[in-house]
């Protein structure tokens, strides 16, 4: 390779000082090197940082065997009766008060999913001739497969109706209580983080008539 070009690529020579033919070659190299930089990952994948930090936390814990031993090995603890009574009183206050007084109830952040108290009835339907039961589970019912679809005429098409609030909901069907399947005819899908796809339903409610901001 041209020595001048090597020096330029090594950062020892300014581009302005290059001969025209070398300059042209240098531009070709720059285009290639830019592609090398831009192809492949630009950074660590999401999740890696937390994995690292979690491993380190475990690591850190293992540096404390003596502290752990202190908690596990039997030894005498001497308590003054007065302090014991005071501690018991504090515990009684914590555990015997009504729960609202102890645990402040945060308002739920899901207000945007309910627009003007609207509700929408959504019909779910799945063709599963071999199934003995079909349920629907999603973020609207904490993924409990308890909303059962019915197949009264035995044609293998299971259907059921569910009242949902406007918003974006994810769901899957559960066949025979344990076999989770993605709705094959859903309008939309999203990764579920466990290597499968959740079906997605977007219910706009009255807000759907709103025009987008230009």
């Amino acid at each position: 390779m041209n020595k001048e070009l090597d020096q330029y690529l090594d950062g020892e020579l300014d581009g302005a000082d290059l001969q025209p033919d070398v300059k042209q070659e240098a531009e070709v190299w720059n285009a290639f090197l830019r592609d090398v930089r831009e192809s492949g990952a630009q950074g660590a994948p999401v999740g890696l940082e937390s994995l690292v930090l979690n491993s380190i936390q475990t690591e850190k814990r293992s540096q404390w065997p003596r502290i752990i031993d202190w908690w596990i090995d039997p030894h005498a603890i001497r308590i003054r009766p007065l302090i014991g009574l005071a501690a018991a009183a504090v515990l009684a206050v914590i555990f015997l008060l009504p729960k609202d007084a102890v645990v402040p109830v945060e308002p739920s952040g899901a207000a945007t999913t309910v627009v003007d108290n609207e509700v929408v009835y959504v019909q779910f339907k799945l063709e599963a001739p071999e199934a003995k039961s079909v349920a629907v589970a999603g973020d609207f019912n904490e993924w409990v497969p308890e909303v059962m679809l019915a197949d009264p005429d035995g044609d293998g098409v299971w259907a059921g109706r569910l009242k949902l609030s406007p918003g974006v909901h994810r769901y899957m069907y559960v066949i025979d209580g344990s076999h989770w399947v993605t709705d094959p005819y859903a309008e939309r899908y999203t990764e579920d983080g466990f290597g499968r796809q959740n079906a997605v339903i977007a219910i706009t409610g009255g807000a759907g008539a709103r025009s987008l901001a230009p």
Binding site: V46, G47, S50, L51, N54, Q57, W70, I72, P74, A76, I77, R78, I79, I94, F95, K99, V102, V103, G109, A110, T112, E118, V119, V120, Y121, V122, Q123, K125, L126, E127, E142, W143, V144, P145, G167, V168, M172, W180, D183, P184, Y185, A186, E187, R188, Y189, T190, E191, G193, F194, I201, A202, I203, T204, G206, A207, A209, R210, S211, L212, P214
Partner: protein, 237 residues
């Protein structure tokens, strides 16, 4: 005379005492706050405390507990092992943290979640920031439409431009949500995603409102029969 000023509890370890107090106290307390009760029932105590620790990491960054707990519950319900659930919670933590740079960590959970989905599907961060600023009320729905559009095979840039077009023509949210289906239909008929988008945008520019008619043989019947779920009834209080 023997003066007794303290009692000795030498017969048990401190851990035993702590557990004793915990048994007395945590049962009612747990009933008040334990949102991981199903995870615990399905995976046991050890795995649940690991998951709780992962959730705590997210909480320390200001992330909403509900979203992380929901992911753990979803995993447990689907029969995933604790390692898989942990990884999913960590991934979600990172994604939500990034989503916080778009909508702010104090945004509604649904917006935070959709910002994370949007970033995951490749939408530009600066684009999402602008989108949230201008359409904060409909942000989640617009991201749903964009994700849907990307799934038809169009590039991020084309999808984003299409949304800009739709916004400047004053399209309604419902109409926007129908656009990807329009594109998909044209793709099914043999157009490339890019051509399909061009055709839909041309219809949009001509002033018509979606859904748009399309040329070629319709393919309705196959998809209409089973497409679920169907929104079929409104009840407005």
């Amino acid at each position: 005379m023997i003066k007794v000023s303290s009692y000795s509890l030498a017969f048990q370890s401190p851990l035993f005492l702590v557990l004793l107090v915990a048994i007395i106290g945590v049962v009612p307390l747990g009933a008040q706050t334990d949102d991981l009760v199903r995870v615990r029932a399905l995976l046991g105590e050890g795995a649940t405390s690991q998951i709780e620790a992962a959730i705590q990491l997210g909480l320390a960054d200001g992330l909403p507990r509900n979203l992380l707990v929901d992911k753990a519950i979803e995993g447990a319900a689907k029969g995933m092992g604790s390692e898989v659930i942990l990884a999913a919670v960590y991934t979600l933590t990172d994604e939500l943290r990034q989503a916080g740079t778009v909508v702010g960590l104090d945004a509604d959970e649904v917006n935070l979640e959709k910002a994370a989905d949007g970033l995951r599907s490749g939408l530009d961060q600066s684009f999402l920031v602008e989108l949230y600023r201008e359409n904060s009320e409909d942000f989640a729905m617009v991201v749903v439409a964009l994700e849907d559009l990307l799934r038809t095979g169009v590039t991020v840039r084309v999808a984003q431009n299409m949304l800009r077009d739709a916004s400047s023509r004053g399209l309604r949210v419902n109409e926007l949500l129908r656009l990807p289906a329009n594109v998909r239909r044209l793709v099914r008929e043999g157009r490339t995603p890019f051509e399909a988008v061009r055709s839909v945008r041309a219809s949009m520019r001509s002033g018509r409102r979606p859904p748009y008619p399309y040329d070629g043989t319709p393919n309705f019947s196959i998809h209409r029969r089973h497409q679920t779920p169907i929104q079929f009834m409104w009840s407005i209080n």
